[in-house]
């Protein structure tokens, strides 16, 4: 598969710092904030954002982890990587401000599933969506509140591949061409 580098390590770092600052700016009361990462790479992005905010604001922010496998409506198309992963929300989310973090937003279906999953755990005060990459082509009326990088892909021809140190040993974002 042919591929083109879109973001390197340096740019990824800058974008995450910007996202963290935007979160600090938008959320009034950081004490009530919980950041929730979506398995798998959304969790690592969430962790990096938390680190950044904690550094800037000298505050502890809880991390939640969700796996949306059981809530998907498109499992039929996802042939790879269907194993169940950990969901961990070991705290009360009622009346909290949540920030949901994923690496890439595309059709919006995963986010719909994630919202359903979160609602099974309680009734948060609000949920805001942060995505690192927005590749356009939404199928549902769902838009991120904070976006790291916008890159509209041609459906069925191009995909975005996010690589992160924690799992892939290096940081990069590639555009891949499907033939």
């Amino acid at each position: 598969m042919e591929e083109k580098l879109i973001l390197d390590e340096k740019k990824i770092k800058k974008i995450l710092i910007r996202i963290s600052n935007e979160i600090i700016e938008t959320i009034e009361n950081l004490e009530d904030l919980i950041i929730i990462g979506m398995q798998t790479r959304g969790v690592f992005i969430a962790k990096r954002i938390i680190e950044e905010i904690e550094k800037l604001e000298n505050i502890k922010i809880p991390l939640g982890i969700i796996d949306i496998s059981l809530y998907r409506d498109d499992i039929y198309e996802k042939l790879k990587d269907i194993s169940l992963k950990e969901t961990k929300l070991p705290f009360n989310i009622n009346d909290k401000n949540l920030i949901l973090v994923d690496d890439v937003i595309y059709t919006g279906r995963s986010i719909r599933a994630a919202i359903d999953c979160i609602m099974d755990f309680g009734r948060p005060k609000s949920i805001k969506l942060t995505t690192f990459i927005d590749r356009g082509n939404r199928e549902l009326p769902i838009q991120p509140d904070i976006t790291g990088f916008y890159f509209k892909t041609r459906p069925k021809e191009e995909i975005i591949s996010v690589k992160l140190k924690e799992i892939d040993s290096f940081d990069s974002v590639f555009l891949k061409f499907i033939h």
């Binding site: 796996d67 809530y71 499992i75 169940l84 755990f121």
Partner: protein, 312 residues
């Protein structure tokens, strides 16, 4: 991924697939014991419990597992259905298929009945116990329970006590445990522990006290009073005298020994009532784990079916 339509036996299920089921069950257990009990993963699917033999826990366990995944469940019990009017198994299966059911969970007194059904219909078939053949989800939940307590079961001694000859639970246990390298000893009256089991690579003993020496796990099977028509042991009291597992017997063993029983228990026949209620007993954990295992099996089989449907 579990690349098969049905779950009929553990004998030919690979170690990797067993590990996948156990791993998935672990996730489900964490979820439904700690936070959310119900998920929409099988929403819109229909599951039939087709039971030709009495069952309480297995049928209810499957029903709860299916409902916790959002599926609809119907129960067919043989003495109140067309089965009594003489309908054949395949006809019953095809009728259910015409009603567009997705899963048939079957218990039958004849070994191999689930295999026959699975060959003739496209719905997924799960064996919930067939004759003296297998009871795969029980084997999986027992393995899950043991692995939960003893991480690596390679080389560990697992003793299965009681009516081995009539036990599909024993067979599924043996097939599953052998794949993970456990040493298995079977013990019971010679009429209930056939020599032929040695071909499965297990030890056989007829003396309970000797058999349980150095045991890490003792899995006590139910004496199937309904199957004792051939007088395979002289009397219940004689069985109790020689094969009832008591706290006294177990006291000489390592304090971490695990006592298991697939239920329903005949207290004071195969197991002393006191032992069943001690900390060593994991009998109720087996029940909880049974739901997790059945959720995992239903979930994994339905994933494969959905994916293979799309690729056709």
């Amino acid at each position: 991924m579990l690349e098969q339509k049905d779950l009929l036996e553990l004998e030919n299920l690979s170690k990797e697939n067993i590990e996948l089921i156990l791993d998935t069950a672990q996730k489900f257990k964490k979820l439904f014991t700690k936070s959310v009990k119900k998920f929409p993963a099988l929403k819109g699917k229909t599951i039939v419990n087709l039971f030709y033999e009495p069952s309480t826990r297995t049928r209810n366990s499957f029903e709860l597992a299916a409902k916790r995944l959002g599926a609809d469940v119907i129960n067919i019990v043989s003495n109140t259905s067309s089965i009594m009017k003489g309908e054949s198994l395949i006809d019953t299966g095809k009728t259910l298929e015409a009603m567009k059911v997705d899963f048939i969970i079957i218990r039958h007194s004849i070994s191999g009945a689930p295999n026959l059904l699975a060959k003739n219909i496209s719905a997924s078939v799960i064996n919930a116990g067939d004759g003296f053949h297998e009871h795969p989800t029980q084997g999986l939940l027992d393995l899950f329970t043991i692995k939960d307590k003893i991480k690596d079961i390679k080389g560990k001694k697992i003793v299965i006590v009681g009516d081995i000859a009539h036990s599909r639970v024993a067979k599924s246990n043996i097939f599953a445990l052998k794949k993970f390298g456990a040493n298995i000893t079977l013990v019971g009256p010679s009429t209930l522990v056939p020599e032929s089991f040695k071909t499965l690579g297990v030890e056989i003993d007829y003396d309970l006290k000797n058999a349980i020496k150095n045991a890490d796990v003792i899995n006590i099977l139910r004496i199937q009073l309904e199957r004792q028509t051939k007088n395979l042991f002289p009397s219940i009291s004689e069985y109790v005298k020689f094969y009832k597992v008591t706290e006294d017997l177990v006291s000489s063993l390592d304090s971490n020994v695990i006592i298991m029983h697939p239920g329903p228990m005949n207290r004071e026949i195969e197991i002393s009532s006191h032992l069943a209620d001690t900390k060593k007993s994991v009998i109720l954990e087996q029940v909880t784990n049974g739901i997790a295992i059945r959720m995992a099996v239903l979930y994994l089989l339905s994933l494969f079916k959905n994916i293979s449907k799309v690729s056709l």
